[in-house]
Symmetry: C2
Subunit: 101 residues, 2 copies
């Protein structure tokens, strides 16, 4: 399992619109991708324009080669991209430990 | 529920030592704090010196007023602090949605 962590900054004042857009984009587009395992979206307390999207993928390739190079990635960016204040910062992680593992 | 997300960068070459230290610090110190609900630690794929520690707290005050101002916070920093390449970036988040909620 690989965790994609996307650090997102949106334009001020568009939080309510973005809340709906990101949930729609994840559930209607990303959730249908090959190798998709699960997701969460968190909103910033100190910075209400900051969102952290976490997607669990079966493998790095499922995200980078499968989803990122598919037409669905373009559809996803069409849904959420208009709200971005800058390009999201995306990196991948392996689980080192957790209270739920 | 509030999520604390700590973005940590450690000194190169000390990954194996830090893997053990952070798991020990979380399970032996943070996990006993008032209002602690759960944790995960992830290690960077693109950047092996990057770690993301996620702690779920009952409330923001449980972390910032309770744990941060306790002697246990000093003990925690004594365990993990020697590995840091810079001060960790810590912010708090509210759940907007997830496939497990």
């Amino acid at each position: 399992m690989i965790l994609e962590l996307a650090d997102i900054l949106i334009q001020p004042g568009r939080e309510a619109e973005f809340d709906a857009a990101i949930l729609r984009g994840v559930t209607e587009i990303i959730a249908h991708a090959e190798g998709f395992l699960g997701w969460s979206v968190h909103k910033g307390v100190e910075n209400p324009q900051r969102y952290v999207l976490q997607i669990r993928w079966r493998s790095l390739d499922d995200h980078m080669e499968g989803f990122r190079k598919s037409a669905d990635f373009t559809r996803w960016r069409d849904v959420v991209g208009p709200f971005f204040a800058r390009a999201p910062q995306v990196e991948h992680f392996e689980l080192a430990g957790s209270s739920q593992s």
